[in-house]
Symmetry: D2
Subunit: 317 residues, 4 copies
Amino acid sequence: MLIQKNMRLLAKFESLFQKRNASKISFIGLGQMGSKMARNLIKKGNTVKVFDVIPEARNSIEGAQPCDSLQQVVEGCDVIITMLPNGRIVKEITLGQRGVLEHLEKGAVLVDCSTIEHQCAVDVNEAVLKRGGKFLDAPVSGGITGAEAGTLTFMVGGDETTVKTVEPTLLQMGQKVYHCGQTGSGQIAKMCNNLILGVTMIGTCEAMNLARKLGLDQKKLTEIVNASTGKSWSSEIYNPVPGILPNVPSSNGYKGGFAVPLMAKDLGIADSAALACGAAVPLTAAALQIYRMMQNHGFEQKDFSSVYEFLKGKNSK
Amino acid sequence: MLIQKNMRLLAKFESLFQKRNASKISFIGLGQMGSKMARNLIKKGNTVKVFDVIPEARNSIEGAQPCDSLQQVVEGCDVIITMLPNGRIVKEITLGQRGVLEHLEKGAVLVDCSTIEHQCAVDVNEAVLKRGGKFLDAPVSGGITGAEAGTLTFMVGGDETTVKTVEPTLLQMGQKVYHCGQTGSGQIAKMCNNLILGVTMIGTCEAMNLARKLGLDQKKLTEIVNASTGKSWSSEIYNPVPGILPNVPSSNGYKGGFAVPLMAKDLGIADSAALACGAAVPLTAAALQIYRMMQNHGFEQKDFSSVYEFLKGKNSK
Amino acid sequence: MLIQKNMRLLAKFESLFQKRNASKISFIGLGQMGSKMARNLIKKGNTVKVFDVIPEARNSIEGAQPCDSLQQVVEGCDVIITMLPNGRIVKEITLGQRGVLEHLEKGAVLVDCSTIEHQCAVDVNEAVLKRGGKFLDAPVSGGITGAEAGTLTFMVGGDETTVKTVEPTLLQMGQKVYHCGQTGSGQIAKMCNNLILGVTMIGTCEAMNLARKLGLDQKKLTEIVNASTGKSWSSEIYNPVPGILPNVPSSNGYKGGFAVPLMAKDLGIADSAALACGAAVPLTAAALQIYRMMQNHGFEQKDFSSVYEFLKGKNSK
Amino acid sequence: MLIQKNMRLLAKFESLFQKRNASKISFIGLGQMGSKMARNLIKKGNTVKVFDVIPEARNSIEGAQPCDSLQQVVEGCDVIITMLPNGRIVKEITLGQRGVLEHLEKGAVLVDCSTIEHQCAVDVNEAVLKRGGKFLDAPVSGGITGAEAGTLTFMVGGDETTVKTVEPTLLQMGQKVYHCGQTGSGQIAKMCNNLILGVTMIGTCEAMNLARKLGLDQKKLTEIVNASTGKSWSSEIYNPVPGILPNVPSSNGYKGGFAVPLMAKDLGIADSAALACGAAVPLTAAALQIYRMMQNHGFEQKDFSSVYEFLKGKNSK
């Protein structure tokens, strides 16, 4: 009885504590990722105003305050979070006519969680600073599952003080916050991580497909690779061969997960950045072309680990 | 006093026990790897006859019985271990005139630890069977350090009974023995693992070099990658950027480790095998070409993680 | 005597005819290409006002009217030709503050001969139209030699009437004018041609280097290829192996010609365009990476056919 | 009347002349190519004994003397021509039990027109020399059409005297004979030519597909490329875009021509040769992988210029 009483007290206290730390947050972009992130903010007791260009989406978040314009969603808010499909749209929403910047309060922080070109983040930051606001680029990893479970990782670029201010809010949607360096470095970190992923996954699929052709058991190969120098997140946590791991896209018809066009998008960002700064990225470029070809051959809805299936081909034994 | 006495007794007992399990072993090929493997067999109390085509090498293994011919080293031995540079030499030493096969005892086991084409292993196996012997392909991973420390991993192909018989001997030179399947599958497993490694390392180097160009701290990137989906043995255990990890080739001028031509050799084996069986291996093929170009541009003595330095280039900021 | 008289008359007549057809032309960008193109326009009797951001360059064209500002060079001119290093600079010079557009006469034609992103041409065209002017993208092929000799080829995008108007002027600097289609299509045509060139040259160099390694005479190979299915401009007119053709860069230490960074620039434009429209360009992407690596390994001043030397390597037999 | 008489006389004379130059020829391998080549030899008046492992094929050549064994076809012949699918089969037919060599007359010439590894040609040559015969490697270009029309090109490796002896016979099946150098160099020449072709075709297809995506007319692009630096046999004679040239596979549903698996075979030979001699062939390797992927995606029956269609993809606009 006493324990139960204390538990109830504790729960109340926790709720109060959350409220005290909760802030008025504006959330723009309620797609697959954004809607789940916004819901987590509401669950943690924050007051959350939401906006999306699609009117129906605005009313889809229970407990949120739906807004009909960027003006309405931005005004009076300290923290504005954006989660949008690409850099062009981020620029349009923030810097465009009747965009976020026109209504931004002095000292408010704009946190962009979209995955975009780092140069684009640098451009938006400059405009936000001129307006008297602050900007962080904060792309995430963890996918839809992580967005739902509130276990995202944030890779953040911007000045340290601003990062510290916003960190508690980010941790209500995720588990880890990496401060990578100045503006844009969050995007650079994400794109560098994802290019390794995109390349490593194809390498792993090539090995698994070669093993299949030569009659080596793929479970055995996975066991050996995971204890050897070929081990990676792709072989250990996200194995591309159906039936080796449960609960991964490969064991579920390559449904869900991180779709081929999204991987192609991220590699395209890395490829362009490399082009602009003169860095050679031979395997990144080759990997991008493979995901590109997959998009044109019926894999545009599948998880990127379906490279395995693409290599196998239709008429392959 | 009593403890010391017991310790001495224990040591004696251990030595006796090792002798009892020790066998008469023949070791052929006393290069960088073979010499260290043979020494570990001697340390564990085995009687080891040794041979190498280079006469001086024959006398370089303390405690071994140097032999002057293949006949001498093979005759009367139950287990013959070969550790040779490539498939052509393995065939020459085993199937050639006055080769191992001509002197092989009925029932003796030939264990080839060289890294060679799996088809080559299949060919040698066939000949050994005809002669009344047994064959295992048992390539290793772990490199020179693992050979010296006796911590190698063996990937073994062949029939289960033979594997079981030889396993204790292999474990005197290593820590793990994987039985991969029928003859040749040890080679297939190794080549599949190494192609992932060769590809993943280049992907990791591309990310690290891109980060450098764009001003992202490489230690920070490594920290993020190792907690994310880009994590691999290459980023975590063998990071290619100087100064991130101690005791890896990159922090030691890319000296030691696994030299570029050896990686090119292994990827060449994988590429040929893929060619022969009709498997598409786009990134393996691209990676092979990069290591090949490195060989022609002054990296032939360096560890394969020097891809990082190759991408950086000479006139790069 | 009579013939000589008639010849003189003819020359006079020709000169008069040229004058009548000559127009007041403005030329902006007096680098390696632009300076030679401007000189040809002067030779043909046109009145040419010239401008370059580098003051010394403005006075380097004999017979031209040097201008000190974009305003001065543009005002009162019917045809403004630009020949600039890249798309960013084209936008700056045309659309920037105190740029070409601010001073453009109604109905004047802006002809951009620079090699830039086709999207950039589309953007500039739109702005020029708004201002009441006309725009053509007209990148050239033929290089410095062609610019000097007046034998350039122009690939032109824009409306037919405008092309017809400007064609005589272009033919004073070149030999051929291709009207490719609407605005931007000149750039698309050039980039498509050059990506074939960049890829084909590397393929040709790989064959020539392989032949060298295997002891096949390269002149013999060239003879066979040029009579077979491997024939291309790269093998026939611009052979990359020293000593096969006279008067090509390969026979002159890879000096002159089309430098590696220029080829890398053009392939980069093609790669970006492909990225943006979702076209797979696997060999273009791979070729770009090779020229990129060459830039980092001491080939940044050499003609792009030096791929042959890059493949050969330093320590190659 | 007189003219007709003379024509008849001339025809008779020509026929007599051919007979005098005709020899007893043995032809082994009566597939798509071989059957047509043998028929041309018969048309020119030679006595031709023929053999194929498939009994029906032996009787399919009108005017030939069908043989039931290698012994029968080889015995008493001065010139033995082989046209076989690959190097393994060439070795089997020539060096195997009851093979060509066992029955070869002293001084007879074995001319292998198959496309095989140059090392394989070197091996067979050695065996033939030991037996007292002579060997030429003489792969052809021109395809099935050229075989039928008697317009093949022969690339020949071997000693000059032997080449001179056999040249008239080869010219009865083709139009050109290139003496490339010592044994194997015919194969090297062919493989070098075909690797350029395989690479150039893909580059051309990438440009054509990119043009399509960006709305540039492909006929216009072809016209420009063929007058510029991107010109090649692939763009001019064998354009991969349907409807640009008549009578090429692309305008006939990619039927006929040189099938994808044959191109993959030739590039595989080049890739292996490069591997063995340490030459870097980055685009050859990448091209091989593309043709390989095509084989696994439903293009195994199509002409290799269908790369265009593969790049386009199924769900491409």
